[in-house]
């Protein structure tokens, strides 16, 4: 059954025959060496106790992630924020666009728990309503920038040569542009709708992802298993998307998470500057509209700002946690 067993004790001497049909001998040592594990000498009906179980990478990932305290805190934060934004209107049914009290009512008042803004609108309702736009823009813009970045980076890193040089020139062109300025110009030229803002953020945020993807693809492209897939008859598209990119995912997932944070900050920045969609409530919009009254009514700016801070913090913590959980060196020794 197992020539491995039959020849374990042979030296490199050329005279030892392979004996493929030799009966499996007794195990020479009490503790079988690792080499014998998956090739048990006499194929027992059940796998022996020391046969490694087929591992489930997803399960392992979750286990490592849950062992990471700060990552779990970040995850809980994000879940709370998501619940607040998407289930909040049902729990706290106050219209964020109507007056509920006098302007600049202080927090913890009878009508508005977090106070009112310069028009007497409920800040808490605004945060709940605005979260939807902010998070949607953040996530969509991040997805857009990551998709563009991965495509550009993977093509440049895989093909190299003139493809790499020309794509990297384009990337550098976008990188040297001041991102917020470019987004501002795009939003000013076109209408200030959520779609435009999302596109603008996506277009300015991809170069970093592209550089990261390129570096990862170049590193993995040199691995022997890519050469092995080539000799197995794989085409370029299969090599890029099925062989190389899955291995490049861990840092890219983290980059994608951080891109969400950046996109939220961008959206807030545009709204703060008055370039956001004035008809859609968002965290940045609340801050932007109330920034003139910062010294008289701190709560109008502080609470939406806190929402942005906690969201970005949560995303960063989860991103780091994912990075650690996907890192095989930290997984198991």
């Amino acid at each position: 059954m197992s020539p491995a067993e039959a020849t374990r004790r042979s030296s490199v001497a050329p005279a030892v025959p392979a004996r493929p049909d030799a009966p499996a001998p007794e195990r020479p040592e009490a503790a079988p060496p690792a080499e014998a594990r998956a090739a048990p000498p006499a194929a027992p009906p059940e796998a022996p106790a020391d046969t490694p179980r087929p591992s489930n990478p997803a399960k392992e990932f979750v286990q490592v992630f849950l062992r990471n305290g700060t990552a779990v805190i970040g995850f809980v934060l994000l879940v709370l924020i998501a619940v607040m934004t998407f289930a909040g209107p049902a729990i706290y049914p106050v219209d964020p666009y109507t007056m509920v009290d006098l302007p600049f009512a202080e927090p913890f008042g009878p009508y508005a728990p977090l106070g009112t803004d310069y028009l007497g609108r409920d800040i808490l309702a605004g945060i709940i309503e605005g979260g939807r736009a902010t998070l949607t823009v953040g996530v969509t813009a991040a997805v857009l920038s990551v998709v563009i970045g991965i495509l550009v980076g993977a093509l440049a890193g895989y093909f190299g040569g003139w493809m790499d040089r020309s794509l990297m020139k384009v990337t550098e062109f976008f990188q040297i542009l001041p991102a917020l300025m470019l987004a501002m110009v795009l939003v000013t030229i076109f209408t200030a709708s959520l779609t435009t803002i999302t596109l603008a953020i996506g277009i300015v945020a991809w170069p970093q992802v592209a550089r990261l993807a390129r570096a990862e693809v170049m590193r993995i492209r040199k691995m022997d298993y890519v050469a092995a897939a080539t000799t197995a008859g794989a085409r370029d598209a299969y090599l890029i998307f099925r062989v190389i990119l899955p291995g490049a995912m861990p840092p890219l997932v983290v980059a994608a998470g951080l891109a969400v944070g950046t996109a939220i900050l961008f959206e807030a920045g545009l709204s703060f500057l008055g370039l956001g969609d004035p008809n859609t409530m968002s965290w940045g919009l609340i801050i932007g509209q109330n920034r003139n009254y910062l010294l008289d009514a701190w709560w109008t700016v502080t609470f939406p700002g806190l929402a942005i801070f906690l969201t970005v913090l949560g995303i960063s913590l989860v991103g780091d946690g994912i990075n650690d959980a996907l890192n095989p060196k930290l997984r198991r020794r």
């Binding site: 491995a4 392979a18 998956a38 591992s55 050469a227």
Partner: protein, 328 residues
């Protein structure tokens, strides 16, 4: 046994650098391998032996020369026409860790070539994969495991199973045992020899270890700086090597019965010259203790000493080997 399966004519692989220089990794290598034979290529690091292997697998594009497998010239093909022939030549890599995709289960890794090339096997691909596992001494149920759950030797068995899956006629082994423990090396070598005999495979076997090559090969070529300096059937090379570089490799090989003390051993010093600007004369002249002005000025022709023994040295046959076993 005399039918030629692989024929390599004047193979050159040059890598242009950004600076405009050219690395002459392989610089004119010619050899034939008969069906069922095992052709060994030995040499130190940087001699170009792995580049030969990669060029044979068409992982590098040959700059010049022809590679013919059976009746098909594979050096000029590309794209789908090359892919259609790839099932006939497969490779076993040196590093059992980086040569297996960590995300593919063992069974998938062996099955991948079949799926990609659309090869249908009687009895189904799944059954064939299990058969390949059994052939290399792995438990068929271990197809569900991931590569990191195997030991180094088992991973190399997996690599061999993957190379066997498409039922190739030629397998290029690029230092298949040099990353393994000595005890495991013997197992893998015996496995390779058994498989070669049973399936009548043809091997091109790359190694830096003369003992390993002696164990498995029928013919050996010694490579130095992109060129073959000596080539002979295995027995003849080990009994009557004629090139000083071959002597130095043999002297460097440690054997259990080696009684020579370090001071008496025939050694060479220095590093090989740069492949960017190889010497005009004999490429080994700078390190050869027997070198003369002729060696530096003139490139030695490859001379035939009969019985398939060829040597590229001006003084081959005239020098006295500094090794006891050859001097006799």
């Amino acid at each position: 046994m005399t039918e030629t399966l692989l024929s390599v004519e004047d193979l050159k692989v040059h890598f242009p650098l950004a600076s405009g220089d050219v690395v002459h990794a392989v610089d004119g290598v010619t050899f034939d391998v008969a069906r069922g034979a095992c052709f060994g290529i030995v040499g130190e690091s940087g001699s170009g032996k792995s580049t030969v292997a990669r060029a044979l697998m068409r992982l590098e594009d040959p700059t010049e020369g022809r590679i013919t497998l059976g009746t098909d010239e594979i050096s000029s093909l590309s794209g789908d026409r090359l892919r259609a022939l790839r099932h006939r030549f497969q490779m076993i890599f040196q590093d059992p860790y980086s040569s297996l995709n960590p995300r593919l289960r063992a069974g998938q890794a062996v099955r991948e070539p079949l799926d990609l090339m659309g090869l249908d096997i009687k009895g189904g691909r799944e059954q064939w994969v299990r058969q390949c596992f059994a052939d290399v001494g792995l438990h068929p149920d271990s197809t569900r495991l991931f590569p990191h759950q195997f030991s180094g030797g088992q991973r190399q068995r997996l690599s061999i199973a993957r190379a066997l899956a498409t039922q190739p006629s030629l397998i290029v082994c690029d230092e298949p045992v040099s990353a393994l423990d000595v005890a495991i090396q013997a197992q893998i070598l015996n496995l390779l020899r058994r498989i070669q005999r049973e399936k009548f495979l043809t091997f091109v076997f790359i190694s830096h270890d003369l003992a390993v090559v002696q164990n498995i090969c029928t013919e050996v070529a010694v490579m130095y700086l992109g060129e073959f300096v000596e080539r002979a059937p295995t027995g003849q090379l080990y009994a009557a090597a004629k090139h000083p570089y071959t002597w130095s490799l043999m002297a460097a090989a440690l054997t259990p019965e080696n009684s020579r003390r370090a001071g008496e051993r025939f050694t060479i010093t220095g590093e090989p010259p740069s492949p960017i600007d190889p010497p005009k004369g004999c490429r080994f002249a700078g390190r050869c203790p027997f070198a003369t002005d002729t060696c530096v000025a003139e490139k030695p022709a490859i001379r035939d000493f009969g019985g398939g023994h060829t040597v590229a040295c001006h003084y081959a046959g005239e020098l006295t080997p500094p090794l006891e076993e050859l001097a006799a």
